[in-house]
Symmetry: C2
Subunit: 406 residues, 2 copies
Amino acid sequence: DVMSAVKLQECRQLISSQLDGVVDFWLKHSHDEQYGGFFTCIGRDGTVYDELKYVWLQGRQVWMYCRLYRTVERFRRPEILEAAKAGGAFLRKSARLSSSASPWKCAFCLTRDGKAVKVQRSIFSECFYVMALDELSRVTADPDMQLEAEQMMEQLIHWVRVDPSGLGRPPLPGDVATNSMAVPMMLLCLVQQLTEGRGQEMAQKYRELGTWCVSQILQHVQREGTAILENVSAAGAELPGSAGRLQNPGHALEAGWFLLQFGAETGDEEIQKTAIEKFMELPMEYGWDGEHGGLFYFLDVDGHCPTQLEWSMKLWWPHCEALIALLMAYRHTRRPELLRRFLQVYDYTFSHFPDDKSGEWFGYLTRDGSVALDFMGGPFKGFFHVPRCLLMCERLLDDLLQTHNE
Amino acid sequence: DVMSAVKLQECRQLISSQLDGVVDFWLKHSHDEQYGGFFTCIGRDGTVYDELKYVWLQGRQVWMYCRLYRTVERFRRPEILEAAKAGGAFLRKSARLSSSASPWKCAFCLTRDGKAVKVQRSIFSECFYVMALDELSRVTADPDMQLEAEQMMEQLIHWVRVDPSGLGRPPLPGDVATNSMAVPMMLLCLVQQLTEGRGQEMAQKYRELGTWCVSQILQHVQREGTAILENVSAAGAELPGSAGRLQNPGHALEAGWFLLQFGAETGDEEIQKTAIEKFMELPMEYGWDGEHGGLFYFLDVDGHCPTQLEWSMKLWWPHCEALIALLMAYRHTRRPELLRRFLQVYDYTFSHFPDDKSGEWFGYLTRDGSVALDFMGGPFKGFFHVPRCLLMCERLLDDLLQTHNE
């Protein structure tokens, strides 16, 4: 109808101008001209308050710059490509640990000039390394880089599905094998990254892995379909204690749009339905704060208090993921209920997170919606969730508005 | 004067009754009769919401029970001694990792029946193991147990002063040697624990270590004596970035009373003066929230926003440490300013943290003082800071009131 077309047009305008502002902020303040790579600890006024380089955020910024450069006309700018290349070179030179038993293990955090400071005993630095190199190889048409991304992917698959010992976590008798939602989500995201537009042979190569990731993600639907739990056993059973009861609504919503995209590409209606009902509508029900608005960061499915100190805070990224998920679901189904949900998150998000002063977003609000941490970038907030959300929503809104106008 | 005597008497009464209530809560809800040791994840109504056993908290509860049993007439109760013994047996049986390269490395967290779930690459599980066994050996008069505490202490000293490689942290080129305040504080606490009342030979054995710990703690006085910083270089210089600028006012206050006690025992006036001026008065100035009251958890010395999500929250333990520090300083100096400071913290603490329903304290408040996490015990809140504070303040108030009455 006309009402919703006007509203969607209004959303489209705000989202596009926000995307421009956010890109400008990072172009202006985050580039390390001396060593390559990006500063990510940046205050409201653009001050770099810490020079450490977090590998997750280095990889994500390379990916995001390349994705913008590759897919959006107005961002096909030399400075964006140059910064992405310098970031990629920094990663390739410094992220992998020469001292490690495995030549593929990456650091979590580096000094400005690329010396390893910390290593995590998990797979995520390596995942963002794959994302960065694959996307960069698409704009530079560099086959070596694409090959390196695929080689790292093989190592990741080995750690996750065959033998995790190379990650450095000692085996302990009480540490039961756990399916943490982040792992299959991340691998599914990489399957989509590596195969997108690369033809049937590549799709075939990663098909079994993609199906496995989906089945691992679906194990997190628990309590007879009434709850998404962050951690389940390797066999898909509920785990005891706080870890077993943990819910992360923003993460469920992110998994939702990964699944919906996968279901749409493979033509699997059942997955699409589950993605929307279980991974979007459900977390919007239990994850939304009826009192103050916004999505809680963590919850306990039985109503105990989560043990994470930040459980009731409102973080920027769950709201970014919710916007993508709900708008994508609306585009697929045209169910008005999903548009209503999207607008509910939209209103909260755009009235709380954007910082007019800097053009970027605050990342961390208290439960009642006031700013708790006032920096624009930090150890876990870089150039990723906000621009990915704005880019994807801009694209989805274009699609929707085009249909409206036809 | 009469006014302050009346006020101190009032404090003494509230503190003693709080101590009784807190002891009752843990006696009633935390004992695992089947496997020994203690549940520490406990809700307001006494429900155990997670059965994991955190080694820090196991060791601390053994220590606290024994200290109460040994030093306070009304707590010399068989059930307290029995629970401490069962906790000590659980620790000795399960805390040390049989699988580790070092026979002294302890787990961070165990299943209810004692299987290792997680290991930290730091020294603190082992520190609380020493505290527990030494204090338990004092009430059971068990020389083997005391010997084991001293053997573990030797291992700790080796890790901290000779070679940390046994902790499992891979050496990394960008990871510079850091003096984190927690390490010398913890070792100084253990020196006092192991030597208290054990005569000149034991005092002599640990004298050099104690002096070294004090010098390491004093390295954290930075910016020409105007700030206590949590992390400095091994040479005592300021470190770059957020980690280098980090302040933890409650931790500084805790170090303050450790130093004051050490200075009093060794008759070192200079250390006592530094303890009060630099580690108590200074953090009370910069750490107190002028707007809402209470001590911030973390601050950045240059006024940047800390990157810890919980930086502005009000936690129970910094307030416990502040109460001990300021009352101890007042007893030593009788300076009215220090009594005023004590009463400032006292008023905030007792109007915000105690939970009338359970008899225990809330641990985690938002910046404006409302309850953020409503459990009584959790992975980091056990039977330790609250009862240690109440016990020490009761003792200090008795001393002060006795002098008044003489």
